[in-house]
């Protein structure tokens, strides 16, 4: 089975600060990591490979430094890594990103299963996975929490819903997006890290994946960012300290003042 895992390099949001003047993320000095949801995608790809044999190829679109994310994927046990990198890819929204990745997958050839994280922690759109499936005209199962059965013909998976799940069957090839309940990602091994350090990452430009120039990067992106703003800070709440008989009166009048009561 040939599996492609799409990964994105994102800033480690546990460390992110917002520049109050421009309302944009302060990227300086912030470490880049593999989008955490994509770590579950990599792990699931590796587990399916270990069950059925085959190979896992990690695919990423990004600037040259995204090579680090692919090296990490290799250190975990991915067999190959492809970086789609070209100045003309820059400024892509989810539509152009999905198109570009779908062209990359076409160029990898004979792919049976595509696995994406459910969404990236920087954009939070959850659109790119289903977008790729659409471009490739493949069935898509989102929010997968468990792959119950899979072979080269079909897949049966649990799509996690609020308070339950759907059991969905689809034909293979197909695309799934995974949630964090699906597995516990493994740690890299030293041998894996050493091999990854030496490994050559395949780099493809726009020309290499035969894409239409008006469908990639900013040109292919109908989404325009008009304004970026940070959500307003929540005001501090009022705290009424003391025993209820002494404090209820104050609470009631405060609620009345706010027009709640």
């Amino acid at each position: 089975m040939k599996i492609v895992v799409c990964i994105k390099q994102v800033p480690d949001t546990t460390e992110v600060k917002i520049n109050p003047e421009t309302n944009t993320l302060v990227r300086e000095g912030v470490e880049s990591i593999i989008n955490p949801f994509d770590m579950y995608a990599i792990e699931e790809g590796l587990r399916i490979k270990e069950r059925l044999n085959g190979e896992v190829v990690a695919l990423c679109m990004g600037p040259p430094q995204a090579e680090a994310a692919l090296k990490e994927a290799l250190s975990l046990g991915c067999d190959g890594a492809v970086l789609l990198t070209d100045r003309s890819f820059a400024g892509a929204d989810t539509l152009a990103t999905a198109y570009t990745l779908s062209r990359g997958i076409k160029s990898i050839k004979d792919v049976d299963l595509i696995i994406c994280g459910k969404q990236a922690i920087d954009g939070d759109t959850a659109q790119v996975g289903p977008g790729i499936a659409e471009m490739l005209d493949l069935p898509c199962i989102t929010y997968v929490g468990k792959v119950e059965e899979i072979d080269d013909k079909h897949i049966k998976a649990y799509r996690m819903m609020e308070g339950g799940y759907n059991v969905i069957e689809a034909s293979v090839p197909c695309l799934i997006t995974v949630v964090k309940e699906i597995n516990e990602p493994r740690l890299p091994s030293l041998r894996g890290k050493m091999n990854a350090m030496k490994a050559q990452i395949t780099k493809w430009s726009a020309a290499d994946i035969a894409c239409e120039v008006d469908r990639i990067g900013q040109m292919g992106s109908p989404t325009w960012v008009r304004k970026i703003f940070a959500p307003p800070k929540r005001e501090k709440g009022m705290i009424f300290k003391g025993e209820p008989p002494d404090t209820v009166g104050g609470l009631l009048s405060a609620l009345k003042d706010k027009g709640v009561l």
């Binding site: 493994r186 740690l187 890299p188 091994s189 030293l190 041998r191 894996g192 890290k193 050493m194 350090m197």
Partner: protein, 387 residues
């Protein structure tokens, strides 16, 4: 981050060991300590991450590192839990007699499984009447045709019961004293080889410490390491190589305790300000950090001497072990002090570091024995130089 002149590979080893220690060991250490439970799952993680390969030569499935690589991993694990760290390091200790004196066949047979972490190793020297005085060993090995027959008991053996491969010192000629000792490999499951009492310890409680019992235990003569009569040399050379590892353990314990104490001191407010703003606490922190760094430098230096193949490094190994373990006892005691009343309570990690630190002053030769080694060496050098 300061990299202490590490190679790229050593930095990689440190980062991975740190990741496992902080992400996987810290969350479970209190429970392992409380229950005195051997950390099988963590040992498997260490194996899957290739960390048992760092101290094994490449031709036997390792990554070809040495004492320094082992110290790096041990230090990182000790920052999180010394019980886990010693379970790991004891496998290296059990491997050393083989690595230093084993034949190619013995290495081929045993080392790949130790490298992969499939099997743990353990070293058996201590007996009820032979600890610091290794010459007092009473376990015997009698040659009988193509076999040796072992009889006797070893106590306080780290990884006892958990390890599959044991390197054991026994007397082949009791009349010769220390020169009558020999080193053997004994596989778990060999008839006549059993385990006794599991010890209930003050610290490093996640590690397994058990008695080894040999009762007419027959092993192939091929399991002799080196030659008959070399057992004492095997043991001493093993300790020369392993003692920097105890130093690394002590440095890790002290660093872990300091990290917790500093975090606490910056959060704990008394008299309207964090206690870290008081000079009394700040100076304690400064002394603790400085002593840790001094010990670390000595440990890395001793480990590098071992790896360079230097002869006569006994003194440096002993110094690294001695200085670091005394330092760790002092630093962890002060960490408890910084935590105040909370430091004395089991809910906080400070007291565990203090309990764990104590053993580093005792095992692989008490610090009194280390001082003997160092003192003797220094006096010998003086005599040599004055000639």
């Amino acid at each position: 981050m300061i990299n202490y002149g590490f190679t790229e590979q050593q930095i990689m080893i440190r980062d991975l060991a740190r990741q496992i220690a902080q992400e996987k060991v810290v969350p479970v250490r209190a429970e392992l300590d409380e229950k005195g439970e051997f950390p099988r799952e963590i040992v498997k993680l260490l194996a899957d991450s290739d960390l048992f390969r760092v101290f094994i030569p490449e031709e036997y499935g390792g990554l070809g590192g040495g004492a320094l690589d082992l110290c790096i991993v041990t230090e990182e694990l000790s920052k999180a839990c010394a019980g886990v760290a010693v379970s790991y390091a004891a496998s290296a200790l059990g491997t050393l007699p083989l690595a230093l004196f084993g034949s190619d066949e013995q290495k081929k047979k045993y080392m790949p499984d130790i490298a992969s972490g499939k099997k743990l190793a353990a070293f058996g020297l201590t007996e009820p009447n032979a600890g610091s005085d290794a010459g007092g060993i009473e376990t015997t090995a009698r040659k009988d045709g193509s076999e040796y027959v072992l009889n006797g008991n070893k106590i306080f053996i780290t990884n006892g019961g958990e390890a599959e491969i044991y390197t054991v010192i026994a007397m082949t000629n009791r009349g010769k004293g220390a020169r009558g000792a020999s080193a053997f490999i004994v596989d778990k499951g060999t008839k006549g080889f059993d385990f006794g009492k599991e010890e209930n310890k003050m610290g490093i409680r996640a590690s397994a410490t058990r008695e080894l019992i040999f009762d007419e235990c027959r092993i192939p003569a091929d399991n002799l390491i080196g030659r008959e009569g070399m057992g004492f040399i095997v043991a001493m050379r093993t300790f020369d190589n392993s003692r920097p590892g105890i130093g690394a353990q002590a440095v890790g314990i002290a660093q872990g305790a300091l990290d917790e104490a500093v975090r606490y001191a910056t959060q704990r407010v008394q008299f309207g300000q964090p206690v870290s703003s008081f000079q009394a606490i700040r100076h304690m922190i400064a002394d603790m950090a400085t002593k840790i760094e001094a010990a670390r430098t000595l440990v890395y230096y001793a480990a590098r001497l071992v790896d360079s193949g230097a002869k006569n490094m006994s003194k440096f190994s002993a110094m690294a072990k001695l200085f670091s373990s005394d330092m760790a006892m002092e630093v962890t005691t002060n960490a408890v002090q910084i935590f105040g009343g909370y430091g004395y309570m089991r809910e906080y990690p400070a007291e565990k570091y203090m309990r764990d630190a104590k053993i580093t002053q005792i095992y692989e030769g008490t610090n009194q024995v280390q001082r003997d080694v160092i003192g003797l060496e220094v006096i010998k050098e003086s005599k040599r130089n004055s000639r």
